[in-house]
Symmetry: C2
Subunit: 227 residues, 2 copies
Amino acid sequence: LVRCRDLRKIFVMGRQRVAALDGVNIEIPEGSLTVIMGPSGSGKSTLLYLLGGLDRPTSGSIEVAGEQLEKMDENTLAVYRRQKVGFIFQSFNLVASMTALENVAFPLRFSGIGGAERKERSRGLLRQVGLENRSHHRPTELSGGQQQRVAVARALVNRPAMILADEPTGNLDTTSGLGIMRLLSDLHRSGKTVLVVTHDPRMLHYATNRIFLLDGKVVTEQEYQAA
Amino acid sequence: LVRCRDLRKIFVMGRQRVAALDGVNIEIPEGSLTVIMGPSGSGKSTLLYLLGGLDRPTSGSIEVAGEQLEKMDENTLAVYRRQKVGFIFQSFNLVASMTALENVAFPLRFSGIGGAERKERSRGLLRQVGLENRSHHRPTELSGGQQQRVAVARALVNRPAMILADEPTGNLDTTSGLGIMRLLSDLHRSGKTVLVVTHDPRMLHYATNRIFLLDGKVVTEQEYQAA
Ligand SMILES: Nc1ncnc2c1ncn2[C@@H]1O[C@H](COP(=O)(O)OP(=O)(O)OP(=O)(O)O)[C@@H](O)[C@H]1O
Ligand SMILES: Nc1ncnc2c1ncn2[C@@H]1O[C@H](COP(=O)(O)OP(=O)(O)OP(=O)(O)O)[C@@H](O)[C@H]1O
Ligand SMILES: [Mg+2]
Ligand SMILES: [Mg+2]
């Protein structure tokens, strides 16, 4: 279960304050597939960063599976990020000096899993996203959509209980995008909690829950459609 | 007029050869709005890079407004890029140390246009993409879709005759994305030649020409739909 209470993230720039999240109250059931939608700049990535322990709230609380994230110190957050969450970044964040295979295997480095099995598991995920013949390409030797798919594979290699996906199909054609949506849906049906930020309405078909954001606040679907 | 004859781009990696473009023949009429579609990895960005003078073909010819790009030396290509083309990158390529306003104004640095007018023109474009109140944010202080819109504004500030847009709405919600499509269509109707790589079928509504790519080759719409 994920529960956010009066969650705020305020960015201060000189004398200007940007309320990226402006008092958000959310409950996400365990094992749900939740789609998060909203206009550009409405706070979706900020919300995902806070849920993934990649940033700290300005105020408010975040409970994930009984743990309070806002109370964790940096080391505890690092363990949480590594063990509990698989994060697919909107801008991929691949390591430029590593190949696709090395990028996918990277989260396993502290897992205690041996080299052969790390390689096997990483290869399997690259195959699942259609990139088995791009394993030895570095990010600059991959198309935009191929980089996005490597980012998807990397987020899954640790078999995390919760997957946070930020626009995972933004750079993909209809067919490749559908493949990724189905992959996320399969993971959901295998028991994982999946949160997907997307502007692709096809993802709603797979959703058990929906959240709509407008200017850093949660709104109803009606308010969102009316905007 | 843009004319490609038997255009090839082969990447060599050790003993492996990747034919990103595999003998492409294209004619793009001046003043057209051409949509380029194809699966992830089919060669769309590679084609745009060659047309924009950002990379060189392995073989074949590229004629743009009577000039042969494959015959240009590096300095001539640099002038071509700066004066004839506005390029919107799939991964934005913004300068991290500059604000949104500075990023948009950057292509004007050799234009001979005075500081006040550079600022005025850049502000106007940021307003057109809905970002006038984000002028002083740096890329890391912008959402993904906001960064994409800064990249769009920057490509237009030099008032180039040809605009090459690589997935310009991939990170935008329905409404913001429609705004960018209309902006590109307006530029087209004002006389510019516009090429848009996209997987958003809404763009076809504004297109005067269509190109479909599959595995580095041009195919018919039928072959593309059947794939
Ligand atoms: N520097 C490189 N070295 C080796 N292969 C490359 C290189 N750059 C691109 N490729 C390969 O060339 C093919 C075409 O790449 P390109 O970026 O043009 O695809 P695309 O159609 O733009 O895809 P997407 O829709 O995913 O952005 C891809 O299969 C990619 O892996
Ligand atoms: N470091 C920062 N400093 C100042 N403002 C910021 C910072 N990071 C984000 N913002 C602002 O916070 C708001 C929310 O950003 P966020 O990235 O969460 O939006 P988003 O919903 O993911 O948008 P998109 O759909 O375009 O990716 C935006 O208006 C953005 O300009
Ligand atoms: Mg975002
Ligand atoms: Mg591309």
